[in-house]
Symmetry: C2
Subunit: 589 residues, 2 copies
């Protein structure tokens, strides 16, 4: 090694030791007689000292020629600092320089390499290799490393085998869009990059691997929303001879292990909620359960209550659902604050027509925006329905049931944020169970698998496939943390006949099913065990553990919303010779 120590490890007990350090110049303070250099590496920061009259003048000259981010090798003796820095692990010592070598000079970086930088997003992405020098970014990737380590420790300890599945596979039209790779050796044919190793992990179960996992890159050619990446990483898992309960316990165990070992947090037992309850109480299949604020119905879809009709308020009378939340202690909200909330739900992304409020004042009186239609007695009934207390504010929406729930979900989250109930360093996990097996595609006018076509229906619901497909529940489950889906899976179909029936139901002709999934259907005939699994979005899981909103901060070299890597400037054109060899042509519209 060019160094004897890192910049993070020298302590008071090293005083009088000769050391050699290598690193980057973080900053220089030149007080004339004394010069200090902060030298930085991945492990920490060590202060170097030069003294006019003491230090070799040639070294002082070199020191004065240094700029930020120069790479240097510094030799010297560890001495005790006169003025110690208790905020720095190396703050008790400094190194009196006896040698200083510039290993590589540096141009002035385009933004500050500090915890708080002056660089904008685009600039930091173009110079990602400089952005990665910043402590918060490096710490995110260190967290990610630790998450992967601890995931493997847990899975290995539970007898799971990590098996690498192929990246060059076959395109299947079901699901999201595939990235494809032209095959030069098989002209006119293409590989696809996997959206998940789903069929391979199921085949591994047919192979008797019993317990499989993999931390694996997956790919989706989607129009990228704010926080999606075309390539992303999954913790992908599958088990044989299990029931849903076994999966829930095994992977609740994983998440608790990660919280314990990575964050030092004892996560409470993970509660469970059906999809139906999640939709009813939160209007979302991934409710943020760090706070309550459950939905209350005034005119019900699920409940039979109706506390609104017959008062000539046409908005409520014509609504399928009148539903609200109780914003505890917000009765004092000003007109302006309530207007803000109304504007919030009327934004096109949410699309509500309006927002009704009821103030339950601390003096016991009730005041609402619909006083014209509802008497104080009417409103008091609402207050009871909401189990509200004086000082509370009821926020009520109405309309088509599904839409109103979705809109109220947004309002609930917004209120949670405003009331400080969504601390990123508090963690609330939840299992959501019993998802519907199917969802109706309005545009395509057919049923789609909500999870994927390999998910098994609940046995008792199979007869409903013929009569009421939308009510068939799946043996499918999601893990939600802080309102974000971090993982999901299902018990799989393992019988050829049922799998064929499912393909049939999803509109595959027998020929299509055979062409795309024939190998899996065949495999099911040669002794397939009951099996099921789960996949966690690893980037997302890391971002939640890191208390951050964006997964991009937890990916070393992310792509932007157009799928571009602006640092390496990719994608890019390729040469005519390459196209020719691949026997493809660009056919721009």
């Amino acid at each position: 090694m060019l160094r004897t120590h890192t910049c993070g490890e020298i302590r008071i007990e090293h005083v009088n030791t000769q050391v050699i350090l290598c690193g980057w110049v973080q900053r220089i303070r030149d007080k004339g007689g004394l010069i200090w250099i902060d030298l930085r590496d991945r492990y920490g920061l060590t202060q170097l000292l030069l003294e006019e009259g003491q230090t070799d003048p040639a070294i002082i000259e070199t020191a004065r020629s240094l700029g930020r981010e120069f790479v240097v090798k510094a030799t010297g003796e560890v001495i005790e600092r006169k003025s110690k820095n208790p905020n720095l692990p190396t703050g008790d010592i400094e190194v009196r320089l006896q040698g200083l070598e510039v290993l590589n000079p540096a141009k002035l970086p385009p933004f500050l390499i500090e915890d708080e930088t002056d660089g904008g997003d685009d600039l930091r992405m173009k110079y990602r290799y400089l952005d990665l020098r910043r402590n918060p970014v490096r710490r995110n990737l260190e967290l990610r490393h630790k998450m992967a380590q601890q995931t493997r420790i847990y899975m290995d300890g539970q007898d799971f085998i990590e098996v690498e599945t192929p990246v060059l596979i076959k395109s299947t039209p079901e699901g999201a869009r595939d990235f494809v790779v032209p095959s030069r050796m098989n002209p006119g044919e293409f590989y696809a990059l996997p959206q998940s190793p789903q069929t391979f992990k199921q085949l591994l179960m047919v192979s008797g691997f019993d317990r499989y996992y993999q931390i694996v890159k997956c790919f989706r050619d989607e129009d990228l929303r704010a926080d999606r990446q075309p390539e992303f990483t999954q913790i992908d898992c599958e088990m044989s001879f299990i029931t849903q309960e076994d999966i829930l316990q095994m992977f609740e165990g994983l998440v608790r292990h990660l919280f314990k070992t990575v964050k030092g947090i004892d996560l409470a037992e993970v509660p469970r909620m059906t999809y139906a309850d999640a939709m009813r109480l939160y209007g979302s299949d991934k409710p943020d359960t760090r706070f309550g604020m459950e939905f209350v119905e005034l005119k019900g879809a699920f409940d039979t209550v109706d506390l609104t009709s017959g008062k000539n308020f046409v908005v409520f009378d014509s609504a399928e659902l009148v539903i609200g939340i109780n914003a505890k202690g917000c009765a004092e909200y000003t007109r302006k604050q309530i207007d803000e909330l109304t504007e919030y739900v009327k934004r096109p992304q949410i699309g509500a027509k309006g927002l009704i409020y009821v103030r339950y004042n601390t003096d016991g009186t009730v005041k609402s925006s619909v006083d014209k239609f509802y008497s104080e007695d009417d409103l008091k009934q609402w207050v009871v329905q909401f189990q509200a207390e004086p000082g509370d504010l009821l926020l009520i929406m109405a309309g088509d049931a599904a839409k109103a729930r979705k809109q109220l979900n947004e309002l609930r989250l917004e209120m949670g944020t405003r009331l400080g109930l969504r601390d990123p360093n508090q963690f609330s996990a939840l299992w959501v169970l019993d998802f519907p097996l199917l969802e109706w595609g309005e545009d395509e006018n057919r049923w789609f698998a909500m999870h994927h076509p390999f998910t098994s229906p609940k046995p008792e619901d199979i007869p409903l496939l013929e009569t009421n497909p939308g009510h068939v529940r799946a043996n499918a489950y999601d893990m939600v943390i802080n309102g974000t889906e971090v993982g999901g899976g299902s018990i799989r179909i393992f019988q050829r006949e049922l799998q064929s029936k499912m393909f049939d139901f999803l509109g595959f002709t027998p020929e299509e099913a055979k062409a795309q999934f024939g190998f899996l259907l065949d495999a099911f005939e040669y002794g397939a065990p009951p099996h099921g699994g789960i996949a966690f979005g690893f980037d997302r899981l890391c971002s939640i553990f890191g208390g951050a909103d964006s997964i991009r901060d937890f990916i070393a070299f992310p792509k932007n919303n157009s799928g571009r890597d602006v640092m390496i400037d990719s994608p890019a054109t390729i040469s005519p010779a390459q196209l020719d060899e691949l026997q493809i042509a660009v056919a721009k519209k």
Copy 2:
């Protein structure tokens, strides 16, 4: 779990326990009054017992309906076996059946699911999920898992951070052919799949990550030789502030750790050899050092010896090099055996013109195929040069120096095999150092980087770049085990100027260098540390640890020599709609 125990864990102390097992029917022996079923899972094999008169007749009927590979759930009581099987961990016990449920029937597999199968390669690949049920194949993947585990344990313990680098990157014409991925969002542009994360790991060093590793999929669109795969896995590593010596020690440590923990072998300290010596002594940059049989020159290129000229033997007189090996104790080889060796070296793949032999008989006489030209005294000189003993056989080749060495390398390996000196369970590792920086491309009429364009020349050899480029040595090193290159790396260029010079030397215009590697050249201007690294071929390393020749046996779902996955039938055509969306067209010649 559907089971209480696996099929591998029940022992004599479980006698009288009620157990539930799940697994595959390995075989059934029906002796009329007694029926035995061997039930198999990943963990082992347990014998189930049914007794006419004792066992419920319905269960016996179910048992008689079973076929090979049926998946069943078996309930019963553990009893001590009358006739124990000491070769089976569960051989002391059997399970007296009280319940038997068929979870899934199975068609007769197309080949035997046994250690020795009757299935040919093609059939086994088409039904890979059945092949993976076989113990040897499963054990290979278990070995691979353990290799990955132990690699991570070692690297984590040395403060390396695992960082995931992107899979969708940019095509670069240098090196092997890239797989490319059309970008739908950027029509006419393509991503490329990485042949290695080379530039990204170097950027991570510029970012100050100090120690990086990754077990990572890489891709090369090459015409596949027998044992290449289009996608393969590397253990990819990079370190900062190091010399070559640090890398050699760190990764010798990794390999020794793997041998110790995975194989229980204390690997000897890994010897080092220069590329020049390896070529001189073995005619190969990856010599198999499980055995000696070093080359001896009779008419030298490296040495100044000439023990052959002036005797009118035109083959030797016109040869640049006369060189041979001493096949110890082979003087008794029959004429037929020697003819076989001659035929071996004359095969087109090797292409030698012929083979000269000298027998040093046990009675001290010398007999050769060139007695017409060389006297017994002449031949005795050769014997001395070879340090041969009575009973040895000298095998000698001649011709163009490079070709003769290459041919003799093949002969040496063949002799090693014939003499049983290449036991796959013996391991001999070697560092080969000081590779040439450049090699001449005859067809392209220019120099190419032997390793890659980022490899640093030895500082003392840099002046030779102008005068004698072929003699410039690189700070590059390979690890060779049993004659196979398992890893290679180099100390990198970290100065912008030298890197530009190297691109220039390799025929890049400044514009091309900027377009392809501008981000790296830029990065070198912002404070790049001295760094270097190595990458191990993980598939290959696993195959060597497994004592096998083919990497395919250590990959769960490999592709064949045409790059096809015959199980899923990929690559395949994609729909016109997909092509249209990607704005590309197939342009078959």
